[in-house]
Symmetry: C2
Subunit: 358 residues, 2 copies
DNA sequence: CACTTTCGTTGGATCGATTCAAATTTGCTT
DNA sequence: AAGCAAATTTGAATCGATCCAACGAAAGTG
């Protein structure tokens, strides 16, 4: 009864119970980690001592230092932590990561931070065996920090030029091309593009020169894919409005207002994310514009929400969960080689796209 | 250039660079943790040595042992890890937890496991400062394991008798009573209850005797609240069918089939979770039963999905995110006292409840 | 009975850092 | 140039375990 953890502290270590039980710390350690090699009588004595002193088992802090492996992978992002539970894309990704972790018995540590400095510290001091880096925003900074930890890591969603960072992603050019070809095939010739970030922290219309200086290669590649197909049917891509958003409702709506505030609005919208496409769907519906009768929309990502929207969204589906699974695998089976994988995408045609009116 | 991390291992420690730079480890350590107290010339020399040897900064494993604090809280459940990203209730809760962690700079470790043995090990070896225990299923076992770690922990969603475990929850009796009173007030007199688990691993009809032996006090309390109000208007609660489910679609549908497979089905359903209520909504709609014209339903929890269902769901809303925030606070500010808090619930009346026909 | 095995136990070394009292150096005063 | 305070640096101790070579005792063998 004297063992009721008292308010202040619990300075009871393995060595303490070893002494109490009259054995060496080596034996005491064995009682917990390899009980079968210690004589039953001794084992019981040590366990009794542990019980009596309120010892909660070997402290993982100590074990960790000796063992080296944490058995957990860190998932890092520059967004607030709640991003992992809010964002549909992140959630599907995390489901894939979870699945792979469950299968191997590894834990997941969520790493993030409000400000830059805190983020650096958190990444430096995260107790993990490797990182999966979500490069939504501030990707390059994150990658830089992760690299400094000198732990295995893979970057997701970042088609970086830098061949030295391991990435798992998709063929953005091909995916975007599929979306555009679908719409041109239906007969559309007037387009607008809702783009993800080319560089951090900017939103609004994007000029062709600005595209050249894109930090996010994924964004640039998708635009390349779109334009490649539009050019093929003779669309003058320099006249196609491209609006950069922060992939949130506010900036997407601002883009939509600009896009539809002109004399001859587009008949089709190419959105670089389902999130933007879904925002567009709602915005158009509020304005009594019918999708797909008045406007066709094709999204990108293939999040579950896209299947149940009104109308269901035509989109370029990434194998999101699979990417997550592979990322975990890449880290746990890290052999020092930097893996760069591209997974196939798939065009899922639903009700948000149809031939243009007339 | 010789610093390119080679495939195999990286045995470069702080002591190595101290030697290389010709300073003691004490000084080398200071260069990283309190750079301002070491002379610039020395600081630069050490940093240069670190750079040259490919040192990725002080290993948190070592620091941890010395410092004692991990600066992360563990969230434990007996469900698979993906539960955190799938389940609406869990997601809102995690959002609250995330928010509190973001604010204090703490990290989140997700702890879970497929099998029992693995779960025990994972809890024993989780590198965290405390646990938040999700008691959905296998709650008592989880609490037992968490307690053995002798770390601060709070149990969520478990109105345990055991006064020695810290919990943050709601007044289940009062919440349930609000739901029932709402329906009796509308004139309903024929009810059925979709119940959460009374004990682990059982589903199906529940007899009054079985209710007495409930492991989950929360489930029992909600039933008590329901029955209290039903009795008040003269309903014979011993005749009210109560079906226990695993809070998933399969067992809920089984319950619904039993409930509506009788001559005089109920006019109102009391569901102990929004999840079950939402399943019921869909099931009824598929059977051309109109809610609320034919059947009224009141859920429990107040998840976001309940606001956008067809029809929107009347429900007893818990302050889910707030519970999460408080749980984090309780762990980080743990003063040895076992906190037991009850937060208020609120009845949110939407379109799934109306007076009975005729 | 001497000689191997086998089994259990011991205690020192190690994991990689931080901390702090003491020692040393530097800088200022007079 | 001695005296003293302030600024730096040192190195041993510590955090809490695990590992392993070596050792002692009990059991088995010829």
């Amino acid at each position: 009864m004297a063992s009721l953890t008292v308010g202040n502290r619990r300075p009871v270590r393995l060595a303490d119970i070893a002494k109490a039980a009259g054995v060496s710390h080596g034996t005491a350690s064995n009682v917990f980690s390899r009980p079968e090699i210690v004589r039953e009588e001794v084992r019981e004595r040590v366990k009794a001592a542990a019980e009596a002193m309120g010892y909660g088992g070997p402290d993982p802090k100590g074990r960790l230092l000796r063992a080296g492996k944490v058995n957990a992978i860190g998932v890092a992002t520059a967004e607030p932590l709640s991003y992992f539970f809010d964002d549909p894309f992140a959630r599907v990704m995390m489901a894939g990561i979870s699945q792979a972790c469950d299968a191997t018995g590894a834990g997941i540590s969520l790493v993030s931070a409000a400000n830059n400095e805190q983020l650096a510290w958190n990444i430096q001091s995260a107790l993990v065996d490797g990182f999966i880096v979500f490069c939504i925003e501030g990707g390059s900074r994150l990658v830089q920090l992760a690299r400094e930890r000198k732990l295995p890591f893979v970057a997701l969603d970042l088609a970086s030029e830098d061949g030295s960072v391991a990435t798992i992603g998709i063929d953005n050019v091909a995916g975007a091309a599929m979306a555009a070809r679908h719409l041109t095939g239906l007969g559309h010739r007037r387009f607008a593009v809702l783009a993800l970030q080319f560089v951090d922290g900017r939103t609004g219309p994007v000029s062709p020169e600005q595209v050249q200086t894109a930090v996010y290669a994924g964004t640039r590649d998708r635009l390349t894919g779109y334009f490649q197909e539009l050019s093929r049917v003779g669309v003058d891509t320099s006249k196609v409005p491209v609006y950069e958003t922060a992939n949130d409702a506010t900036s997407t709506i601002a883009a939509l207002e600009a896009i539809f505030g002109v004399a001859e609005p587009p008949t089709a919208i190419l959105a670089m994310s389902d999130r933007m496409a879904l925002v567009a769907l709602e915005w158009l519906s509020a304005r009594k514009l019918k999708v797909p009768d008045d406007i066709s929309i094709v999204g990108f990502d293939g999040v579950p929400e896209a299947a149940v929207s009104e109308p269901p969204l035509t989109t370029v589906a990434q194998p999101i969960a699979e990417i997550g699974r592979l990322a975990v695998k890449a880290i746990l089976e890290n052999d020092g080689t930097t893996n760069r994988r591209q997974l196939p995408v798939e065009l899922i045609v639903r009700a948000s796209s149809a031939p243009p009116r007339g």
